[in-house]
Every structure is written in C-alpha cells, then in structure tokens.
Symmetry: D2
Subunit: 475 residues, 4 copies
C-alpha cells in the first residue's frame, strides 16, 4: 500500500564443510523477501567454483526445486533480494554481481545507495571501465577489483575501496576463500551476524533471516566495521575500517521496512513500533471506543496506542492474504476497487464506534482516503487517523524510494487539510522529537522528515541528476 | 497449517445490461480464494452464448489479464474456487461444470458434498450416463438436465432434482436466461445474496465477496430455499423447496473456514471467534502474562480470550506473508524448517513470559509441537495452549476434508497426553456445549466433534467407501 | 501452407507385461504429429487404473519429461493427436475421452467425422444425455456405453454401437481389459496394426508410427473390421462387423495428409505422390529446364514429374525448419512476409530457367501467388505451375477441413484465370480420372473434387448446419 | 545430427526513419536461426536510447509478440543468434553485449572466435577490467571502448581495436549514431550487406537473411574491411583496415553451416554442395540403383552425385519436421530410438536396391551406423556411403565446435575400418584436393582437415588451454 520501498536484503553463509547452501540461502532470502520483491539471486561457492542464478521475481518463483537442485554443495554462498519496478530489461540489475578479475572471482551483494555514485562512475569510465548495468553494485565491484591489483589480499582491497565510497552500503563480498561483510560508517542499513549450530557463520540484513535458518544471533556488524570469515572458520573483525562517523540507522527500518520479529542494532522492531504507538497516544490522544491498525505494518503501533490510551484494541481490517505482487486490477476503470480487494472492514468491530485508525505513513493520501471510506461504509461513527511516523518532506539518497516531492501530500498541505482530504475526523502524526526514543535513544537518520542529511548534500544532488539521466537513457 | 479444508466457494452475478462480468467475477473469486486454492473457473453468459475458462491454480494465476480480456461482456456469470490436492489429472474436476443438454446450455457451481452420491451415480449409470469426473457436481448436472426433459422450466427441473439430493449443497445454476441459487434444507454451507448499486444481483458463499464487488448484503439464502433471478431483473424466492429440516450450518465455517469479515446466517465470523475465545477463557483459564494467537485464524479468539481473562493481548508470532500455496521446502530432510519459514516468534513479546497460545485446531499435533518449540526457543517461560474448537473425533460427509481417524491425535490420546506430546504446559479445548453459543444459539452441525450427523449415516458410510473406490481408481 | 487439415491421428498399444507405455505412446504420437498439431493426449491403463493427460499443444510440449514420468507403467495405452484451431476454450475437445460408466472405465480415441452426428446427439439428449464437448467422440462414447448396458462384453457393445454410426471413424476403444480397433465400413481414414518385437500389438493411423516405435507392420485394419486384443495376448478379428460397403479411403491421405514414408492400404504414399507427378507430366507437359517442388509435400510429385518428363529435378525452394506452429508474423501489416520467412528460393537453381513448380493444392491462391513471386524475384524465366490434385470444389463431411466454397478459388475461376491470378505462365491440375491410379486402382473417396459422396448427403447437409450452430454457440 | 556447430549469426539494420525494427530484426534472426539455437537477442536504438532483450532459446520463443511489442521504433538495431550448450547459467553469454562507457552506449554482436583471447583478457585484467561473461565479445567491447578514450570517433576506435584482435570475427558495432560492420582480415566468417527498398542498409551473416527481410543483396563485406553507415544514410567503406592477409573463408560454411539458399563471397552454397556431390561421384563412384541424401544438409550433394553418376536421385529418408531443439528421448534406456524418431526410411525407394547414401560428415560414427541400420531394415540391398567432406582430424580455433580428437572416429580408424563399423558396404570421403573447387577456386580455411592454420598456432594452443580453464571454473 505504501509507496516507499527500500532496495534490498543481503544474506551470506560460510560453513566448515560443504553443504546444500543453495537451500539454506533460499530460506534466508525467503525471510528477507519483504525487503525486495523485484528480483533475487544467489552465488554458491564450491571450492572456488562459483554458480550464480538470479532473475526477476520472488524467491519462490526464481528458485524452483529444479533450479535449487542445479546448485552444487558449497562452503560459502551469498544471496540478495531486490526491490524494484517491473520490466524485463532490468534483469541485468539483479544481484549477486559475479565478476572475474585478475586475481580470480568475486561475488558481491549490496544494500543501500552510494551518494557519490556519479562521480565514482565517471572516474572509472575515464580509465576505460564499461558498465553492463545501472547499479551502484557494479561501481563497487570495479573499485574493489582495481584496489585488488594494488594490494595483497581481498580484505585489504575492500578496506581501500570502502574509503572511496560515500552513502549507504551494507554489503557482502565473497572471494574464492573468504566471505567479507562491510557496513558503511553511518550504518544506514542494518547487517548482523549469527552462528550456525554445527559451526559456520551467517550474515543477514535482519535477524529474522538468522532465525529462519536456525542460526543464533551473535551481534550486529557495527557501522564502519569489516568482518572477514575464512574457510578455516576464523572470524576477524576490523572496527577501524574508516574514520568514525555519527551512527545513523535509517529510522524507516523501524517504522516500515523491517519485519517486526527482527532486532536491529539491539532494538526490537516490534517494540519500536509499539513505542511509536504509545508516543502517538501521548501526542495526539483521541476520544474513541476502539483502536485498529492497518495490516500488516500498522498493527504493532495500534497495540501500543491501545495500551497507552486504555482504549480497547480491535481487529477492524482484514487483508486478503492472496494479494500477490503481480495482482492487477484488470482495467483502469476498475482500479477503484484495488483497495477494496486488498482490505476489508469488520463491521462487528467498527459499526457505531469511534475508531482510532493507525497506519505507518501517508504518501499521496489516496490509499488513506479509501480506507477511511471503507470504514465509514462499515458504519464507523468517527475515524481518528494516527500515523506512526512524521510526514515525509524530503528525498532520501540512501536507498529508500520516496516518491518525488510533487506527489508527497505533506509537502503541499497542512495536517488539517490532509485530514479533510482523506475524510478523517482528526489526524495526528508522530512528532519528530519522538523519533530518537523509538530506538532506545540511539542516533538515527531522519533526513526524510527533517532534511538533515548525515552526508554531504551536494553529492546527493549530483547523484539525483545523474540517476535521472541514467533512467532516461534506459527507457 | 491446519489440515482441514472445505471444498469450494461459489459466486454468481446477474446485471440488467451487459458488463465486464469476467472482471467482477474475478474480484468475487479473489475474495473467496480462502475457500479453495486448488483451482477456479467461471462461465460468462452473453445472451445464451457461454464462455468458460477453468484451471488448476489460484484465481490470480488462472485469470491473467489476457484470459480475462478474452471473455465477452455478459449479463450473467457464475464462478467457483475449489479446494484440493495437487495433481494435473484433476483439472477435470474444476468448476463451473458447463454442459449442453436437450434444452440448451447450463453451467453449474456447487459447494458441499452429497451424502447419497454413490447411490445417485449408480442409478444414473444404470440408465446409461457416463461420467467425465469424480465430482458430485456432475451428478447434480445429470439429475437437473434429466428432470428438465420432464418439466417446463429450468426452475421446475431444479426443484425436482433437489428432492433427490441428500447432504450439503449450496449451488448456483445458470441457464441461458436465468440464474438460480439453491441451498440444501440443512443449510450446511453458507450462501447469501446482495444487490449491485446499478441494479442486478450477486450470490456468494460469503458476504465478504459482496463487499469486494461493491454489492450490498440483502440476506442469506435460507436453508431449503431456491431463488431465481431472471434477465428482466425479477427475483423469485421459493422457501418451500423441500420439506423443512433442522437448520445446521457447519460449525467449522465459524471456527476456521470463513473469513472473519464475513457474516453468515446473521452471525459475524469475527464475533463468533471472539466468543469462542471468551468461552475458552471461562472453561480453561490460565495464570499467564500475555495472550497471543497463531496467525491468521487464531487472532480473533486470542483477542476474545484476552478480553475475558484480563490478560494483555500481544503479537507474538509473525507469519511470512510470502508463503504461497506452492511453497515447498526443497527436500525431505529440510522439511523440519517449514514451520520456521512460515511462522516466526517475537522474542520481545514472549521472552520470560507465561504465554497463552490460541490456535483453531489440533489435527496431528505436529504443527502445534513445532510452534510451541519456536516459542520456547524465543524464551517463553510457560506455554498454555488453548484451542478454539473441541477435538476432532469423527469424519465429515458434508464437504470438509478432515484427516482419517488414524491421523487424528484426539482419537488416540487424552488431553494431558496431547499436552505432553506438543510440549505445552497446559492444554484446553473449547467445550462442546459452548458451540451453540458461538452462533447466537442457532443450531449448527457439530458432527465432527460429536458424531451426531444431521442426515442418515448409512448413506454416509456407503459414500465413504464409494469415494475411496473412486480415488483408488484415479491414482 | 495449405489450408486443408484433417482431424487427428490415433495410436494404441498392448504389451504382455507392464512397460513404460507413456514413452512408447509419446514416440508414436510424435510420428503422427503431422496429423494434428492442436492438441494431444494419452491414457495409460495400469491393470484397470487409467491415467490420462491431454492438453492443447504439440506432443513435445504437452508431454514434458516431468509429465511422462508421472505416468505409471501399464500394459495398454491409447493416444491421440488433434488438428485444430487455437483457443483455450477448446481443451475440452482434446482426446482421449476417458469416461466412467456402469461397467467401468473406457478411454476412446477417434479419427474422422460422423455424418449423422446431429441426429445421434439429438436422440441421446432426448434420453437425458449431457455433453461436455462439441466432439463426435463424446457421442460415440455415449452410444458404446449405453450399448454396454444391454450386452455382455465391450466388444459386443462396440459392434452394436458401430451399426448406428455413419461417416468416417477409425477408432480405438480401451477398456480395463481389452483394446479394440474399429474402422468404418468405407475405410475413409487409415488404421493399421503392427507387432512389437517382444510380443504385443500396436495400432496406428499410419504405418510411420509403427516404424517409429520399432513395431513390424502386420496389416491394415480392414474397412468395417473390428480387431480385439486382450491382456493375454490374443487377437480376434471380426470382418463382418457391418454390411459391406464400397471401400473408399480418402484420396487426400495420399495427396497431402499422410507422411510419405507411410504405406496405407497397401499403397506407399511416396509412390502415390510420384505417380501423381508422372500423370501430371503426361496430362500437362511443359517445355522447361528444371522441375522443383514446394517443400515438403510437393517434393515427391516433383520427382515423379521430372522422371516422366525427362526434365531435371532441382532443389529450388528451401523451407525454414524453425517455422513452428506458433510462429506469428507480429502484425497484420507485416504478414506479407510470412511466406518469405517460410520459403526461400535458391537463385542458382531457378535464375534464367523455365521452371516447373509442383505443389499439392491451390486453396485460395494467395500462397501460390507469393511463391510464384518469390521465384520471379530470384530470376526464374518462366513458371509452369502443376498441382498434384484436381481443383477443390465440394465440402468434405468425413473429417477434412476444406475451406468454405466462397474461399475456394476453383469454385469461381477457370484454370486460365487462376493461372493469371497467381502469376504463373501456365497451370495444370491432376485430371480427376487419374485419381484411381494413384492408389493402384483401388476405390477412393474423391467427393471434394467430384461431389460424389459415398454416404447419404441429406445427413451430411444436416450435419453441416448442425456444426455451424454448435460453433456459433461456442464463440 | 552432426556434432559440429558454429557460434552465431549476426544481423544489423539502419533505416532513414524510425520503424518497427524489432520485427524486422526478428525476421532476420529467424532466417539465421540455423547458425545458433542456444540463445538470441537484439538491441534497438531509438535516437540513442538502447533497448535490449536477450535470453536462452529460439527466436520464436524469446521474441514473443509481447516482448516484440515492448520495443520502441528505432532507426538502428543489431541482433544475434547464438549456438551453444544448455544451462541456465549461460544467459550472461548471450548477445548483443550492450555496454555503457565514457562516450556513451555501444551494442556489439559478434560471430567467430579470437585466437589471442587469453592474452587480451589477461592484459585487460592487469589494467583493472572485470568480466561478467566468458565470451570473446566482452573482450572486444573492452578494447573498443578503451580505444575510444584515445580517439575522436567510434570508427577510429574500432580500427584501433581491430589491430589487436587475431582470429575470426565478423561483427557489428552500434553506437548512438553509427552502425559499423567489420570482418577479420582472413574473412573466416561470412558477412554481407544489402539495401532496403525504401532506403537503409542491412547487414547479415548470410544472404538468406537479406532475402527474408526483403532487402537486396549489395555485396559481401570484404575480409579486413570496415563499413560504417550513419544516421544520414551515408555508407563509408574502409578496405585498408588492417594489412592484407590470405582470404580464407571457413570451408564448413559451404559444407554444413550455411543455408543452401545463401550466397557467400560470391559462391552459392547450394552450388558448392552440388559440386561436392559431383566430385565425390568422380572420386568414389559406386555401382548402385539410387542416390539418396540424409536430410537436410545431404540433399544438395546427393543431387550432384546423381547428376554426375547418372544414377537416379531418390527420396529415401524423411525427417520428422516436429523434431525441435528441446526434443528429448525421455530416458537413457530409450535413447536408442532417437534417430528412429528423427529419420524414417521410405521402403518404396530403397527396398531391394543398391543405395548411395550421402551425408555431410562423420564425427563419432554412431549416427551413421544407425542410419545405415534403418535402411537395411527397410530392405536396402547395398549401402554405399559417401561423405561430402574429408575426415575431421584437427581442432578448430575460429569458432567451430569440433569434438575433441578422442571422439573423432577418423583420428583412430582407417576408412575401411569406419565402413565396417558403420555397417556400410563401401565408404568414400571427399578428397582434400577437391575442396578449393567447391568455392570456385577461392582460398578457404581447411585446417580441420589439413591442420594448416592460417594464424599462429602457439596462440591457438594457449587459447585452448585458457578455454578449458574458463569452462572448468564455470561448471
């Protein structure tokens, strides 16, 4: 429903003995599917022989039993789920990016956006580089492999390369012998490490993927840290990879992107959302009979709001669980019914009642208006909408696809205006000053709400222009 | 998760002017998808010309934009979602069943099982009938069309035919000019009628499908009633179709099958489930810190249990929303992780707490054991499992696919034994005498719990043997 | 290229011991693919348990390795290739037709058209029969199964049923224990029997399918004959099935339908085509430098023409072997290039030469005009077109899909007019009186050229009207 | 049947106004499908915006109507058909190779193999290049784009790049504004240019693709020549691209690869094959009754043999036209019947006769033995096999996939031994000294028969080792 997406989930594994890592990685990607539904892929490393398969589509469709059985056993693997738009042309942007270079093979998976991508790409092209894709990942692959020519090991090459990168990157680099995890100095995107019962390590964007494969959570990869695991089972961490920066995990990981059962940088996503609901109740109380959430991501905050306000929690909207990524309301004319097919009100819960309705965001306002209308049709007496995030006002350069400012309703209208446009009796957003409390007083990146960017903005602007150029050329 | 399924959802529509009914029916089937994921189909009636498409698969996959655009506009349509097993051979059992007969064309959709199917089929075969499928629907089609030879109208033929049928049937019969809805005298399976804003009628197994297509709920089709709508927009009801019987809607419609936003025979499914939770709290209280439900069907009862007990409601298990019907854990060996991929605990909610866990049924016990184990791993201090239905003890002859008695854990073990087998600290089932209260003191069929069948059991037994024979021949 | 098609090839096999008959039948269907590319199917009989798979598409696409491996081993099987038009709705017309009846199971495959289908269907409907398809095969299935109720064995039922059928039918009936082959009294469509090296029998529409599966040709099934093979390996023939009729195999089997390596009723198809070419050379000699055929079906006659005339045989047109059934020239506008994509001239052979061009038929004239034009562009000095059949003038009621008279160029134009329309310097058709000599002086059905129908034409006419009605109702 | 393959066909087009070039290119690729069935692709250039689609599979399957309609109109396009093995991993090796570089976009299609690929790749890697594929095409793309940094135009960059390449390359380079064709100095692989009726140019590996799209043959691109066509319709040729070399088109283009309706370097392929047949008749006469060819590539030579020997030409083997690339005889055990499914004898032609059987090659001998056996079963009295090429004895480094020496029957056995092994009464190969006469006394590359390589062999050897390494790493 929301029009905000993030680019990607990453997963990696190293085991002491060859195993069916394609299956294990598939399970991990399946748990990270919410971070990207456009495409997915994996590379399995069988003693230096790399086997890669990637395609557009959900993990379940790309990794059929037949495809999975085509992978050899191996001792390392990396995998990726990619967010995105449709379009057959974009298969080349899927990851992992497996490349051959002077010193062997490398396969790379990456979550985040570089804010200096345009400048880096331009420098590489000056030196004769050619690009097969429009992704930042290919830029990173070049920089690492070029650094590799001047260094004695892949980890030194990665360290050298990282000093050239700006922006958001949580990535895994797999060479013939090593698996390396790196997180940018700000830690915009999450990354954690776990251990397998029989030995071996697992890396994943979110802890829920560790749980899915039966791994025990060890710790988060720290911002600015590089962790190297080697075939003999050793794990080396280098926390002084680059100079220290303010640590600023993206606030939207807690509000919307991550799965509620994940724990990011020590904070439970479910708990953060409940906290948002509680703070929302404090900031924008409502005189109401029932609190309901928009499934799935509004439910945790609704429970928090209910607990803090003392208003009973109810189940007021049902989501059709068969709504798939490819669901299309067949014609333009009939598109009005898309929300109706996806969400359905429970009259028993809302009829004749004053309802507090919790959602995680308002982007254009269209969806909110339709949900409010559904509830009115089901007999709701009053609808008090509460949003578990502040209004979006600024673009994101670190891997979140927030709609252009023209489409952001909050850029053009006051809160009362929006309330009227969506048909709610009242409307309240989470106050900006409540954000730090979501994450246990940690620093977080709130640029999309505040416009305060942790990295240089001139780069960011040039990137934006550069991206528009790239996309124009593609379409 | 549960191994209990029902066979089918039905949908029908009549409009005063030709419209894109394929799209409308698709939306209706999409809302009824939970009643059957094996296959689906529809027939659109364009002034007597029938166009049928049906196949194995979800509505979204069977009715691609290309397929939908191949349907003509029409003034009537019927559609069907079918529950079932996998297997390419079974495409012939998909509905609607479109047949040509002496007096024209007829397309039939049906939900339920006949308890005298074997006898009827045998009699028809004696007279030379041949069968292309193993479905009851083909038997009904024969009986109606044979009756049509002796009567002056399709509705008379349906009335005659219905007097020969025993068991459960909620069905729609579409001829060139009329759309007829019939519900068996017991009303085992639900069926309701709604009106479209611009005129026209909609029939559906559940009211949620009316909501999905923007129709207003008019009323339930009564047990033993036949409703005929004609091209000129008239609606005739005949409530004396057959002699009165005790009305006994299947209790499992409330407990498990139906969508919580549906209202069946005047009772909200969501409300019935909350009521089950409340009665469960009264019958089997627990000394605990938090109440959680197994998503999706345990959530309503969990809320009821929380309200009645005063123990806070929590979100303790997350369901991976990308789990599809075709999801397969790649190898036997790895199947242990299937529950783990589907459900994930929220440690924040359960760690160190005494948890009341609500689910709708225990069939074999395997799934319950794994869920309990997941919660223990996440730190739950105690787990008190409560089931919002009594234990299954008897087979169903009316369209519900309850596993064979050998596999029903409750047939072989006491409640304390089961509690131990699944690893719960305590276990409680909904008492049988609470069942009538679920549905506002209405009569309901509880044969699967009590063994008291509303129709003759000798027939039922013969049916069971007959079905086994049929299936043996097929496989 | 030609717009004339026949409906279907049939294949059947019985072995003493259970074998992988799905594979064997697949090989047989593959050899009969030229007789029908719309759809195909097979039923394998494993000791009374029937497994059927059928779908639209070529054998290679319908019977994937996965599908084939899903069939059990068996001792009997029947298969079918079906000619036809496109359209998802028509899957129900694919064969075999597997039905359940009073006395068990039966699977039926059939090649030909009944000329009294409308009357038979009407009588069956009077007695309450319902039809799932528009195919004659379903009519035959009804008649046999109804006869079965009054008789003591399946072969008696088939004998009784056959006496009611008029028109063309070469068919195989498989019951739990027996495999029965029947050919209509006129023998319009071919059918032969062979023996497998290790014991067992094979039936096929053409001998080429026997060769494909390594069976030795035994003999043709005679017109009006029924052959029964039983599980114990006995073969019983009944040549007095129905009263004797003039034997009239369809002449188009020799001219166009059958594969040149097949031998039908004792006459080699290749030899018949060469004979047509020789007679054509005698009837319409040409003063020319080279004789070329339109591949594939004009090549044999071209060789015969060359031998009889003394003009050298050449290879003048190449057919693109990647042209598939699904090949579509993307837009209407570009359709002009379809012939060009399919056929390409060899300039070396035709440039500056007077060319005799042999094809098997002219239907609308469009294709011929384009081929003539291709050859002119490649430098041919003169083009003398010779057709190895007489002009089409009359519809066929026995299973051949000749275009409607409005589209038959020969119904509206003289030979010189046609020559001018297609751009040929001269044009000659095979004389009607030469036809009997094609087949070694046997009687053949030449109704499409002569209008002399071997069966009653009033029936035929009624059928034609009936079919139009059926198709109208379908579309 | 033959186990010898070539890598690729190329196609390019430039039109004065934007047109549906996707369709035109599809038609061209369809005509070049015989040069590669593994995969195909195309890039359409719409005023500098490139749209590329490529995948494994035949053109008909990759370029569905839906895919074709997704391409914009354009004024330039390049396309490619690729020979190869199966395997989902290899999609990355499909062409065109579209890359982004400092000076814009480039799309490249290439036919042939570089003999100094290993050395070039190594040098590029030294300078930091990364490789996404194992194809020579990516090497060429790098060299051109690096040269582009030092030059003022794409054609200068191509000229510079070509001086570094050794071996076989017929390629098309498309930039935003220009379409450039280059053929290596030896002219190992064919390439020609034609003109479209309404203006514009077409390039293709074989003239048959010009015919397919309605273009007129203009001339061959000369060995060592570069032709540049620009958006304004000018065509510039540069025949002094590199220093003159002996012109040596691959002899196998005439014997096997090319379509008989193509004219390569002024010589008709059909004529060359007939000439081979005539010379074979002179070198290895036979006392026989009939001459037959193995379809499709043996038919032209059979006609030549018949003409030269005076023995009648016959049609003795029929090829099943439904044999597709994906046809798989389902199990290992049954693979014996693969030849039988593909080829079928005409008994009428061969029974009781002394047969001369013409094929284009013997690789392992297995296929020949089975064909001989088929003909014996059909009654052939004697079989005199004649091969329209000399025996293979040496590997090819220029793009032909001849089996390893261990599998080449002629490396281990004398001609009489081979005759005995395949069961022929006599056997004769085309003498090596007859080869030059095939192509009108032109020089041709005959290295696979003679071991005399036109380029340095040490490079070739290193390449061979390099390739084995690459493939090992991939599998």
């Amino acid at each position: 429903m929301s029009m905000i997406h993030e680019e990607c989930g990453v997963f990696g594994v190293m085991t002491p003995q060859p195993e069916n890592l394609a299956h294990l990685t598939y399970c991990g990607l399946f748990a990270l599917q919410h971070r990207g539904q456009e495409g997915c892929g994996m590379t399995v490393n069988d003693d230096g022989v790399f086997t890669t398969h990637k395609d557009l589509g959900l993990a379940e469709h790309v990794f059929t039993p037949q495809v999975l059985s085509g992978f050899p056993a191996g001792t390392m693997a990396v995998g990726h789920t990619r967010y995105g738009t449709t379009g057959g042309n974009q298969r080349r942007n899927c990851q992992p990016m497996e490349v051959n270079h002077r010193k062997g093979k490398m396969s790379l998976v990456h979550n985040g956006n570089l804010s200096n991508a345009a400048a880096l790409r331009s420098e590489l092209e000056q030196r004769g580089a050619i690009f097969h894709s429009t992704s930042d990942t290919e830029i990173i692959a070049y920089i690492i492999t070029q650094a590799r020519l001047r260094t004695g090991s892949i980890e030194e090459a990665v360290r050298l390369a990282v000093s050239e990168l700006e922006g958001a990157f949580s990535m895994l680099v797999m060479s013939a012998q090593k698996l390396i995890a790196v997180r940018d100095p700000h830690g915009f995107r999450p990354l954690c490490i776990g251990t397998l019962p029989g030995g071996g390590y697992v890396f994943a964007s979110e802890s829920c993927a560790l749980t899915a494969v039966g791994a025990a959570f060890l710790r988060d990869v720290e911002p600015g840290e590089m962790i190297v695991v080697t075939q003999d089972g050793r794990m080396c961490a280098d926390r002084q990879l680059v100079q220290t920066q303010p640590k600023t995990l993206c606030v939207f990981e807690y509000i919307y992107f991550a799965r509620p059962d994940s724990v990011l940088d020590g904070v439970s996503v479910h708990a953060a959302r409940k906290a948002a609901g509680r703070m929302l109740a404090a900031a924008h109380p409502a005189d109401a009979d029932i609190v309901i959430g928009v499934p799935d991501s509004g439910l945790d905050a609704a429970l928090g709001f209910a607990e803090a306000s003392g208003i009973p929690y109810g189940i007021g909207l049902i989501k059709n669980k068969y709504i798939g990524r490819t669901f299309i309301a067949p014609t333009q004319n009939e598109r009005v019914s898309a929300v109706r097919l996806k969400l359905s009100p429970i009259r028993e819960t809302v009829a004749g009642r004053r309802v507090v309705l919790i959602d995680d965001s308002i982007v254009r306002g269209t969806t909110s208006r339709r949900i409010v209308s559904l509830l009115r049709d089901a007999g709701a007496a009053e609808i008090h909408m509460r949003i578990s995030a502040p209004p979006f006002l600024h673009p994101c350069y670190y891997g979140t696809d927030i709609d252009s400012e023209e489409n952001l309703i909050a850029c053009h209208h006051t809160v009362p205006e929006i309330a009227e446009m969506i048909g709610a009796d009242s409307l309240g957003f989470l106050p900006i000053d409540a954000l730090p409390q979501l994450a246990g007083s940690r620093q977080i990146c709130t640029a999309c709400f505040t416009g305060q960017y942790p990295t240089a903005t001139d780069r960011a602007e040039s990137r934006s222009r550069f991206e528009r150029k790239l996309h124009a050329a593609e379409n």
